[in-house]
Amino acid sequence: MELEDLKKAIDNSVSVYKPAEKSATDLMDHESKTLFADLERKISIGLIPFPVTVVLFSALFASNVQARHSILMWMLLGILCIEFIDLLFNYRLIKKLQNQSGNTKENFITKINRLETGFKRQFAITLLLYALMAIVLEIVIYYKADNNFQQWAETPVLLRVVSYVVFLIIQFFLKKYFYKKLFSEQMESLKSLIRQFQ
């Protein structure tokens, strides 16, 4: 039995493929069931608390003068914004990864590139923002702009720098862990598919 025989048999037959149970009109507006669509839904749920928190912060700043002048509160808001940006990056990436157009090989290579460069860019930006926050904190300490940091200012500079570095390292591993958790399965599967092209 050859593949050509199967082709001939299918060409000569009237109905080989079982028709769909529902019409296209009923099916096309359904939600996608892919892994990425599932992730997109989860991340969009995760994005909801951020605007709510920003509103709460705004209300606090509007009603409380002390809070408005507290660098600590602004830093908390800063951390929140960085994490929000990080989540937005993942959301945008997942949206792009759902594109199924283009020839198969190109489509898979683009997805792999997006996953690889996505992490590097995302990691660089969030870490840079955290490093910037550490610099701002040091400026605040230098100019004694906020009494809340009095105790931290009394800590030796070297220890402070080590703390910032440790924080950045922890951030790096945490981001790497979550990125892997989100995308490693798809990444491996895409890489194995690319090997099948050889």
Partner: protein, 160 residues
């Protein structure tokens, strides 16, 4: 736009069914994949600029979806349904060679995702140039792959 899209889908429905048939093992999986392909086609349709034929574009989206689309757990949980062949072959017009076709389909099941895509395109009568547009594999490589696939299928079905 929706009307035009549905008209095109109606014309090419057999292509989608064919892809679903080769990439799934059970009826339920086939219905899921069919739905997913339609969802992806509809989502991608605004980006279809007519640079290639609708059929080529449809093949690209449908094959990409079939290969990477569905969630892994769904593929693994459902059991392989060997009886589907008898049913479908009986519905088709080549029931007299049932055993042979069953064996051929079972052999195709064992091919990897890209090889299956080549088989689907071959069965649909696509030329190597068209296959290259859809899969992004150049013609000489496709010819080598096709020969290897045929040999593999020959080996897998030789005892029948």
């Amino acid at each position: 736009m929706k009307e035009l899209f549905l008209q095109q889908i109606q014309l090419h429905e057999k292509t989608i069914l064919k892809i679903c048939h080769f990439y799934t093992n059970t009826d339920a999986d086939r219905q899921d994949l069919y739905q997913e392909i339609l969802v992806q086609l509809w989502k991608s349709y605004p980006r279809f600029r007519g640079e290639s034929s609708f059929n080529t574009w449809l093949y690209q989206v449908a094959i990409n979806t079939a290969i990477t689309g569905l969630k892994k757990d769904k593929k693994q949980i459902r059991a392989y349904d060997i009886n589907r062949f008898s049913k479908e072959i009986a519905e088709a017009d080549f029931a007299e060679h049932e055993q042979l076709y069953k064996a051929m389909y079972t052999a195709i099941e064992q091919l990897n995702a890209i090889e299956k895509a080549i088989v689907v395109l071959f069965i649909d009568g696509k030329t190597y140039a068209e296959m290259e547009k859809i899969l992004g594999i150049n013609e000489p490589t496709l010819r080598v792959k096709m020969n290897r696939i045929k040999e593999k299928l020959r080996q897998l079905t030789k005892n029948i």
